[in-house]
């Protein structure tokens, strides 16, 4: 029920703001702020209600929705999605606050878009019905499209269309795959349902998995974005307003990696293993390539955008390692990337608000004029560079350990190695540690150090209290997650352990399976929540 409330509050907020008069701009902002804060406050209840010892779905709720199609409103969280939901509810108020000044036209519409976007994001993280997931997944596109297209900068229309078409391309294939799952599962068992909890209890043939995984993975890889499907990202980031960039980098990208972890890998484990070498190489290429290209940028925002390609490469490497350490590191990195890159985009936004340019060459020596900003920006920058003691290091370190120990762990679990010479892959990935410092220090130096050379920068104002408050929550969390990561990690641990146990069972069940229709596994037990009525097993019904 709690999850439904968390979904309902921003939706209600969107309706309320939509009904407000257009000229009440401040009122709309405050109202948006209120509802997003209320959502965040409620979502804190999740931490209280969440049982860390439980690996299965919790707080789940299943209501029939379109009965004739087997569609239900089924939501729940586990240790994998918990922190991503909280990241969403945490970032949304910050983003709305950051936009108090720089969104000056169509304020009401902006707030509505933001709140709808929040509904979409939370929904996608908690949906346990593929149909429902797809609905939320597509809902998110609309407000993001508007945010880029309406409140964006010079080439906003190009960027918005590119964003939508790129994403649609992948998600349509995913839709085809979802329908295929629905039909074949229905034929095999007589149970026509989109319920992920039910569908994930079956395994498909090797051949089918290869296609289905590819369809899902394409959708998710575009979202992540993985090399070479990343070129929508720099454009979308550069053209989006600050608020849009923060949400885009902070949360939207995580839906790609989350999708791999929640849907693509567990449902098609054999294919995941078959593709893993390629995916992990693409991830590593992304790490190095993203970092190098970031370094070459002249536009500060583009630089940060490419840094996301690099950081998300780390996440993908961690997930593909299929070790508890690697996956936990991947999830941790998703959350901490949301904070640090969110912070970097906020910082670029601060400069853009003042100078209406993002070119590195236009700045320099800003420390003198903006000391408070300089300090906050420094912390965010170092967090992104993976400095131990700040949040970025924990995820990166766990990912590297996870990937490095991949061979040993897989041998122990009786599974094949997925990553070709994981130590070499990891060593290449670890060059990201050096390259990350290269582009981030380059960014910071060009903006903040040196004498002030551009006359226009002589009179810049330091942060206003409002702007300081957009950074403070991020910085505080950057420190907490860096110094005391245990509460975060311990809540992920059981879910990840369960994920891997189940992964192993499913992998072994699907190895060598070649029938056209899926086979249902004996009840794995632990993942199925009690709210689901047991379904009749009709093995191979119509065949």
């Amino acid at each position: 029920m709690l999850l439904t409330i968390i979904l309902a509050i921003p939706l209600l907020g969107a309706i309320v703001v939509a009904l407000m008069p257009k000229h009440e701009e401040t009122g709309c902002r405050h109202m948006g702020m209120f509802f997003s804060l209320a959502t965040f406050a409620t979502s804190l209840g999740l931490i209280a209600a969440f049982k860390p010892v439980e690996g299965a779905m919790q707080l789940s709720l299943k209501l029939p929705w379109i009965k004739s199609l087997g569609v239900s409103f089924h939501v729940g969280v586990d240790g994998i999605s918990l922190w991503l939901v909280l990241l969403t509810t945490f970032l949304t108020p910050i983003v709305i606050l950051s936009a108090y000044k720089h969104i000056a036209k169509k304020v009401k519409e902006f707030i509505v878009s933001m709140l709808v976007l929040e509904v979409g994001m939370i929904g996608a993280f908690v949906a346990l019905d593929l149909f429902l997931f797809y609905v939320f997944w597509e809902i998110m596109l609309v407000p993001m499209y508007l945010i880029i297209g309406i409140w964006g900068h010079e080439r906003k229309v190009y960027a918005a269309i590119k964003f939508v078409i790129y994403t649609m391309l992948g998600s349509l294939l995913m839709l085809v795959a979802i329908i295929y799952l629905y039909i074949t599962h229905g034929r095999a068992t007589g149970d026509y349902t989109f319920d992920y909890m039910v569908l994930s209890q079956s395994v498909w043939s090797e051949q089918a998995q290869l296609w289905l995984f590819a369809a899902f993975a394409l959708a998710f890889a575009i979202k992540v974005p993985m090399f070479p499907l990343h070129t929508w990202l720099p454009d979308a980031h550069v053209e989006a307003p600050t608020a849009g960039s923060v949400i885009l980098a902070g949360v939207l990208l995580k839906l790609g990696t989350y999708g791999f972890l929640r849907f693509a890998i567990p449902m098609f484990p054999w294919a995941a293993a078959a593709y893993a070498p390629y995916i992990s190489w693409l991830a590593v290429i992304g790490i190095v390539y993203g970092a190098l290209v970031a370094w070459a940028q002249k536009d500060a925002k583009k630089l940060v955008a490419y840094s996301s390609v690099s950081h998300l490469g780390f996440v993908m490497l961690g997930l593909m390692a299929m070790t508890t350490t690697g996956i936990q590191g991947g999830i941790y990195q998703m959350v901490s990337h949301g904070l640090s890159t969110g912070g970097l985009f906020l910082a670029i936004g601060v400069l853009y608000d003042r100078r209406h340019t993002r070119l590195l060459a236009q700045f320099g020596g800003l420390w003198k004029r903006l000391p408070v900003f300089a300090g906050l920006f420094m912390i965010v920058m170092l967090s992104s560079a993976g400095l131990p003691g700040l949040n970025g290091f924990v995820g990166e370190f766990l990912i590297l350990v996870g990937a490095f120990t991949h061979h040993g762990e897989m041998a122990q679990a009786g599974l094949p190695y997925f990553i070709w010479h994981s130590r070499i892959v990891t060593a290449v990935a670890a060059t990201g540690v050096v390259l990350g410092a290269v582009y981030l220090l380059h960014l910071y130096q060009k903006l903040m150090f040196g004498p002030i050379q551009n006359v226009q920068n002589r009179e810049l104002e330091d942060l206003s209290p409002r702007e300081v408050w957009t950074f403070v929550p991020l910085v505080v969390l950057i420190f907490i997650m860096g110094i005391y990561p245990k509460p975060f990690l311990s809540r992920m641990e059981q879910a990840v352990a369960l994920f891997l146990r189940e992964y192993k069972v499913k992998f072994q069940a699907s190895e060598g399976y070649r029938e056209a229709l899926p086979k249902r596994l004996p009840d794995l037990g632990y993942r199925t929540p009690k709210t689901i009525a047991p379904v009749k097993l009709g093995m191979g019904g119509e065949r």
Partner: protein, 773 residues
């Protein structure tokens, strides 16, 4: 392990709290409050450290030393704090005070405290006063964390933390022009330091990963118990190479060359002199740069397992010692000379730990912290007096005007040159003695002599360039311009008192570590439980031949003789420097330099190593970055791939738009054509057939041909006629799709099918060959 629980975390925490306060609210505090807070927190850490060492650690140490070799290492542990726990990784942030870390804690807090006090004078006019002390405290806290960590991960936290502080402090005057390049040269120097260090850290992280994947732990105490795993063979691609210990040791060594400015990663340290001078003293001379030496001494049990890598450590150290010293000859910036001297002295420490003389290496670290801090602070005092000028060619004659600074500087110069009985003599000489009297298995017999030779040559250079510096700065007549000369004054007591204390330390502390032939080496005795552990463990492994004393080691005569030799060498260096430079550069110098112009130019330009790195690494990488962006990202993926496919859609759309022109007749034509095509397609007879059982048959075997599959399920009336191609006439038209035939002769036959329905006749497209044997 005899150990007790003590809240050691206060030692790093006090300076960290000081840093937090000064950085958060320092701008609003008075200068007095800022420096009281900063100095007080370091003093607090010093006192806590001393208390823990003398009250708790000393009794344990005493008990252990009575128990003799093999006894457990005396240590105080702080209750661990669970930091990263995920899967198999369980990193507990524990702090550990044993004899080794006690020495380090004392050095850091004591020298650090003096430098903090000095800074209150040196930085008194700077507008970033609170920021400066905040960073300095942050550095002290991180460094203490580095040396107290009982875990490689904790060590790494401190390791990176000091790197960041170094970065921040090098670029402290972020808006000042550097001496050479305009603009943000200081910030560039900071960035260079950080990134060069990160290159080393890359290897360090890989080393940690390797150790973790093999042993399952990063805790130093637990690692030392896993000799067996460390000796497993590292076999990438199935090629058996060397032990894990060797690979990990080499990787960690690369990390250490970054932090401790050794070949090949030393290039950042001279540039780091852009920071305020107290920073150069604390971070880039006394403490941070010694972290690599500390790390190797701490992990001596890994290095002792791999004598080959120890030889590499020693060679890197000896080579760096000489290499940097020769560059020191030709530098004219007072701080640059000291920077190269630091690199050179760090080389000695590496040489020491490389030949297994861990306590000698750490002893030199200890004495070096005093005399080099004193030299840097003295240089700071000189720069202060000279209104910011750093070029020694413009100095001279400061002896009379800066008596305290000059005297303390001179003491430290004697110490670093290795004049008996000052501290540098004992610590350096012990390293040289160990270098020649230790046999390293896996390296040739002349290797110790080579190490010794390099070390001795570096000692000669050291004495020479240090006294060149001294004479040019302090003796003779002042060469400064009028205004500068007018301002020359001795520094305030806040700056001179630390100089006096450090000089006193530089003078007498050597007595703690007397050579074996002279008396007891208290220093080694104190460290023995930690640094002898590696040798004890290595002795238990049968597969390796440990590093051990060679034939010379027991020869007292040789030891006395070599001591005399290095003393003579140092004296020669000093006398030559006096001859050439007393009272400013003499004509002899010009002649000498003129005699070896190329060599001098090379040394003055630091052998162009920076330029070589630039051309070899930096520029190609930058070029690659830009090429990837422009060629791969913008052109191939975005222009050809993304916008290209969009353009294709666009073109197809434009073309197909012409079809929708509203002309009903055209639509009708298209409709009719379409229907006709569908009719033809649907009613086209089948033209494929199967040959059963196979196309390779025996003579006389019945073969059947089947075209029925093609139309399965469709209701159409068709007639078939087969031509078997062996001369027999074709079959009659028949409604069955199956025919049978027996070939009577060997050969290959082409079988054709004709199909007829009401509208048209076709021949099968597929003509199957049948091979009859």
């Amino acid at each position: 392990m005899p150990s007790i629980d003590f809240p050691l975390y206060w030692i790093p925490l006090l300076p960290l709290l000081g840093a937090a306060l000064n950085l958060l609210v320092g701008r609003k505090l008075s200068r007095r409050a800022v420096h009281l807070l900063a100095c007080g927190s370091v003093l607090g850490a010093l006192l806590v450290g001393l208390y823990a060492t003398f009250v708790h650690l000393y009794p344990l140490w005493k008990a252990a030393s009575h128990a003799g070799p093999g006894a457990a290492v005396p240590a105080i542990l702080s209750a661990p704090f669970e930091w990263i726990v995920a899967g198999k990784v369980s990193i507990k942030l524990g702090l550990l005070l044993d004899p080794l870390s006690a020495v380090m804690v004392f050095t850091i807090t004591f020298v650090g405290f003096l430098i903090h006090v000095y800074s209150t004078g040196y930085m008194s006019h700077d507008e970033g006063y609170a920021r400066f002390f905040g960073y300095l405290n942050l550095f002290t806290g991180s460094m203490l964390l580095l040396v107290l960590g009982d875990n490689l991960a904790v060590l790494f936290v401190g390791w990176e933390g000091v790197g960041v502080c170094s970065y921040l402090l090098i670029g402290f005057w972020y808006d000042k022009d550097g001496t050479e390049k305009p603009g943000d040269a200081n910030a560039t120097a900071g960035k260079k330091a950080f990134i060069t260090n990160r290159v080393g850290d890359f290897a360090f992280v890989l080393g940690m990963l390797l150790l973790f994947s093999v042993t399952g732990t990063l805790n130093i105490g637990e690692l030392s118990g896993k000799t067996g795993q460390l000796m497993t063979i590292f076999a990438p691609f199935g090629v058996k190479l060397v032990s894990v210990a060797a690979v990990a040791g080499l990787l960690l060594l690369i990390g250490a060359t970054g932090k401790s400015a050794q070949i090949p990663l030393y290039v950042w340290l001279p540039d780091a002199m852009a920071g305020p001078t107290p920073v150069s003293a604390l971070i880039h001379a006394a403490t941070m740069v010694t972290a690599g030496v500390y790390m190797i001494a701490r992990l001596n049990f890994i290095y002792m397992l791999t004598p080959t890598v120890m030889g590499v450590v020693a060679l890197v150290g000896a080579a760096t010692a000489l290499f940097a010293a020769t560059i020191g000859f030709a530098q004219n910036d007072i701080k640059k000379v000291l920077a190269y001297s630091t690199i050179s002295q760090l080389g000695y420490m590496f040489l020491g730990v490389g030949v297994g003389a861990y306590s000698a290496g750490v002893f030199h670290l200890f004495t070096h912290a005093f005399f080099k801090a004193c030299l840097f602070l003295g240089a700071g005092s000189v720069i202060h007096a000279m209104s910011g000028k750093q070029d020694i060619r413009e100095m001279g004659g400061l002896w009379k005007k800066l008596p305290l600074t000059s005297a303390t500087f001179l003491v430290s110069c004697f110490a670093i040159a290795g004049i008996v009985p000052l501290s540098g003599f004992f610590s350096k000489d012990e390293i040289l003695w160990k270098a020649i009297s230790t046999g390293i298995p896996g390296w040739p017999a002349w290797f110790p002599a080579l190490l010794y030779g390099l070390g001795l040559a570096a000692a000669l250079c050291t004495a020479f360039y240090m006294f060149r510096l001294f004479f040019l700065t302090f003796s003779g007549e002042s060469r400064a311009d009028e205004t500068t000369r007018h301002h020359i004054h001795e520094s305030p007591p806040s700056m001179t008192m630390p100089l006096v204390v450090l000089a006193a330390g530089a003078a007498v502390l050597g007595l703690l570590g007397l050579p074996g032939v002279m008396g007891p080496n208290l220093f080694h005795h104190w460290l023995a439980p930690v640094v002898d552990r590696g040798a004890q463990l290595a002795a238990t492994v049968s597969r390796i031949q440990p590093v051990s004393d060679n034939a010379l080691a027991a020869n007292h005569g040789v030891e006395w003789g070599l001591m005399l030799l290095s003393l003579t060498i140092a004296t020669i260096g000093i006398l030559v420097a006096r001859k050439l430079y007393a009272g400013g550069a003499t004509p002899t110098v010009e002649r000498l330099v003129g005699g070896i112009p190329r060599l001098h130019k090379a040394a003055a330009n630091k052998y162009w190593v920076d330029e070589i790195y630039g051309w070899l690494l930096l520029k190609p990488l930058r070029g690659l970055a830009i090429a990837l962006w422009k060629a791969v990202d913008a052109f191939v993926i975005d222009l050809l791939g993304v916008n290209g496919s969009a353009a294709i859609v666009d073109v197809v759309g434009r073309m197909s738009r012409r079809l929708h022109n509203g002309n009903v007749q055209r639509y009708l034509v298209a409709l009719v054509c379409g229907v006709a095509l569908i009719v033809v397609w649907v009613s086209w007879p089948p033209d494929r057939f199967e040959v059963l059982p196979s196309t390779k048959v025996q003579v006389g075997q019945a073969v059947s041909f089947d075209a029925s599959k093609e139309l399965a399920g469709e209701q159409r009336t068709l007639r078939y006629r087969w031509d078997f191609g062996d001369g027999t006439p074709p079959t009659e038209w028949s409604p069955t799709a199956v025919a049978s035939h027996t070939f009577t002769r060997k050969g290959t036959y082409k079988v054709k099918l004709q199909v007829e329905d009401k509208r048209w006749r076709t021949e099968a497209k597929e003509t199957r060959k049948v091979e009859v044997r």
